[in-house]
């Protein structure tokens, strides 16, 4: 995980930025720092597992605004907000908008690094789920219309007889469709197939 992930730091204060960079590097993580939200949007690599350490208060584009922009761009990234002293309302706002966590300055290195690790782990999981979903979606897309109909009814727990009756085709034909569906979807069992259908919902 460590080699293939990156911690982004966006903070307009040069000293804080530099110190965060150093602290995170001390944990063997790779870091990329940006002085503004604009720089980050232009410079980060959405393909890598990552987390974003984001200063909540910045001129021009604030941390909260960057969070909104990323959501709007459908670029999920666990965001750890760094807030100033006693800035509860903004932290609440950030959490409601889906922030991973928030840290109040100044913070302990262990707290920060723990949170970063959790966030990256979370991102990897999310990315994994996304990939899985994309793969299932791709497989389901290869089904014919009739196969998709049968798939949905099978996933709903119907017996072949019931499906045949409902669709007005023979049970033998249904069996053929089911075999094709199992093959196309890469399912080993009926239980597998039901699970894949669940994921697609």
């Amino acid at each position: 995980m460590a080699t293939q992930s990156v911690v982004y730091v966006v903070d307009d204060d040069a000293s804080v930025r530099k110190s965060l960079d150093r602290l995170i590097r001390s944990a063997g993580l790779s870091v990329e720092t940006f002085a503004s939200a604009r720089d980050f949007l232009a410079g980060h690599r959405p393909d890598l597992p990552a987390c974003l350490l984001l200063d909540i208060e910045m001129p021009e584009i604030s941390g909260l605004e960057l969070q909104k922009k990323l959501t709007a761009l459908n670029q999920y990234l666990p965001i750890i907000f760094i807030t100033g002293f006693g800035n509860v309302p903004k932290s609440v706002q950030a959490m409601k908008a889906g922030a991973f966590d928030f840290l109040e300055k100044p913070f302990e290195a262990t707290t920060l690094l723990d949170t970063i690790h959790r966030a990256i782990h979370h991102d990897i999981q999310i990315r994994h789920q996304k990939q899985e979903f994309a793969s299932i979606r791709k497989r389901s897309d290869s089904l014919t219309n009739r196969e998709r109909e049968v798939f949905e009814l099978v996933a709903a727990g119907m017996l072949n007889k019931q499906i045949a009756f409902q669709l007005g085709i023979t049970e033998a034909t249904i069996k053929l469709h089911r075999a094709r569906i199992m093959q196309k979807m890469g399912a080993q069992s009926l239980a597998d197939l039901v699970r894949l259908a669940e994921r697609l919902k």
Binding site: A14, S15, K18, S19, R22, G84, K105, P106, A109
Partner: protein
């Protein structure tokens, strides 16, 4: 002349006077007179005319017998004719004369008879027919003496002094009124000559200064004046003489050595060799009130400043949190680099360097905060704003070079001084210049990254300083709120911001505002009142 002759001629003379007054004969009516008699007649007529012309009453008195002869004018002065008074004697005089004056008159006569006085002269009152007293100047001289040296015949005149006495009385009353006015005046009063010697002083000034009137009348202005030297006072008096009057504030020293503030209104009158007439007002109370008001204003302004502190306390906390956060991060990073299997000394060294820099930065923020909160009246000295701008530009030299910003000062060389705190005004200028730099961060063209600082006298009593940038300018909302809401942009260096600048300018009695330039960018203006001494 022998006594006998005098007596005879005197007798004759007075008879003639009486006659001539009553029935004036002409020389033609008496052709039998000899030439000598005729000459005598002319002589008499001449004397009579003179007496008539001088409009005096005459008297002749035989001191030994008490017989007297008066002329008509003598009776007329007291409202009678001679006939109405007849028969006359020295008793007639004594009857009409004021008893007090009669006493004085007798004494003076005695002295004349003894030879102490060459002639007798006495101002005395006589009872007029109307009941009023009239003043007469009674003068006379003994003309003949008895064989045994006693005064015999005395001749004299009465001159009516009533009109003069009345005029004198009016003048005396008027003077008394003036004196009373001056003595009872709330203000002190002086009259001095052109050498500064006090000629007249009133009770009020005597009370103010603690000196008695006698002491003051022996003093000169420089004995009392504290602010001006004797030379200054002499020059000041020349000025008053030239312009006729002056009004000014100064301080005087009391007899007990204490000093009090005083306001003087002085006029020069070119009478009697030149007179300085001055009214002096003790303004101790006034000054105290002024001080109290100023202190109250300062307290209010401090409350205002504290409120402003509350307004952006969070941002100041933020300013301090930034370096503290960085220090903690660096320290913990250093710890981790040291405890690694292969300690990375270079990283640790860099971390420590940053820790030092950030610690200094935090200290700087606190120093500025303390400066801002400082309650005591800031050092208010006469300052040359152009000089302060020069100082600030020197201080910011490196920063401006790093940021590639060109500052062009357009300073009015004849700028009057202002009164204020040097450090505070430096802070305002730094804030505005650095704000301008920040506003121009996005500009690529080096030639466009410039700030113009202009100083000018745009109002009669204040100067205006303008800091003009070519940056992004201000939004419509920002222009009005930029001073209200401190929105930290966490600049390196100072960066406590516009509300503090506003607070500083307000305590200096000036204003600060911002406006967009027609050709882009914004200009921040502030005014400072011209120091009184420069006006």
């Amino acid at each position: 002349m022998k006594i006998k002759e005098l007596k005879e001629s005197g007798q004759e003379c007075k008879q003639s006077v009486v006659e001539t007054r009553e029935h004036l004969p002409t020389p033609d009516a008496i052709p039998e007179r000899t030439q000598t008699a005729e000459a005598l007649f002319h002589e008499r007529e001449r004397l009579a005319a003179i007496i008539n012309g001088t409009n005096v009453g005459t008297w002749e008195w035989n001191i030994q017998t008490g017989e007297t002869i008066f002329n008509n004018r003598w009776a007329e002065i007291i409202g009678y004719t001679l006939d109405e008074l007849a028969p006359v004697s020295i008793e007639t005089w004594m009857k009409f004369a004021h008893p007090d004056d009669l006493q004085l008159s007798s004494e003076l006569l005695e002295r004349h008879f003894r030879g102490d006085l060459d002639y007798y002269e006495c101002e005395s009152r006589m009872k007029h027919r109307s009941g009023d007293w009239v003043w007469v100047l009674d003068r006379g001289k003994v003309a003949s003496w008895t064989e045994d040296g006693k005064p015999l015949m005395m001749f004299g005149t009465h001159l009516d002094l009533t009109a003069r006495k009345q005029a004198e009385e009016v003048l005396r009353q008027s003077e008394e009124l003036h004196r009373t006015t001056l003595q009872t005046a709330m203000d002190g009063f002086w009259m001095a000559d052109t050498q500064g010697r006090l000629l007249e002083v009133n009770e009020t000034y005597s009370r103010m200064s603690g000196y008695s009137l006698e002491e003051l009348r022996a003093m000169c202005i420089p004995d009392l004046e504290v602010v001006e030297t004797a030379t200054d006072t002499a020059a000041h008096m020349q000025k008053v003489m030239a312009q006729g009057e002056d009004r000014f504030e100064t301080r005087h020293r009391r007899k007990d050595g204490s000093i009090f503030p005083i306001e003087i209104s002085v006029q020069y009158r070119p009478i009697g060799g030149g007179r300085m007439v001055a009214f002096l007002r003790d303004i101790t109370e006034h000054k105290l009130t002024e001080q109290t008001l100023r202190r109250q204003r300062e307290e209010l302004s401090h409350v205002g400043r504290l409120a402003t502190v509350g307004e952006f306390a969070a941002s100041i906390a933020h300013e301090i949190h930034q370096p503290l956060t960085a220090i903690l991060n660096n320290a913990q990073a250093a710890q981790r680099f040291l405890s690694a299997e292969k300690p990375e000394i270079a990283e640790v060294q860099e971390a420590i360097q940053d820790i030092i820099a950030d610690d200094r930065r935090a200290a700087e923020v606190i120093r500025h905060l303390r400066l801002f909160l400082k309650r005591e009246e800031a050092d208010r000295t006469l300052l040359d704003i152009n000089g302060i701008i020069g100082e600030v530009l020197t201080m910011l030299h490196g920063e401006l070079q790093d940021r590639n910003v060109l500052v062009t000062p357009d300073l009015n060389p004849g700028l009057p001084h202002v009164q204020g705190g040097r450090v505070e005004l430096q802070q305002v200028l730094m804030n505005l210049i650095l704000n301008g730099c920040d506003a121009m961060i996005g500009i690529d063209d080096d030639k466009q990254r410039r700030i113009r600082i202009e100083t000018s006298v745009t109002e009669p009593d204040s100067i205006t300083i303008a800091v003009q940038d070519h940056g992004t300018g201000l939004g419509a909302k920002e222009i009005n709120r930029v001073f209200e809401h401190f929105y930290t942009t966490k600049r390196d260096g100072l960066g406590i911001g516009l509300p503090i600048s506003r607070s500083i300018i307000a305590t200096h009695g000036g204003r600060i505002w911002a406006a967009n330039n027609p050709d882009g960018g914004a200009t921040f203006y502030f005014t400072l009142p011209i120091a009184e001494k420069s006006l």
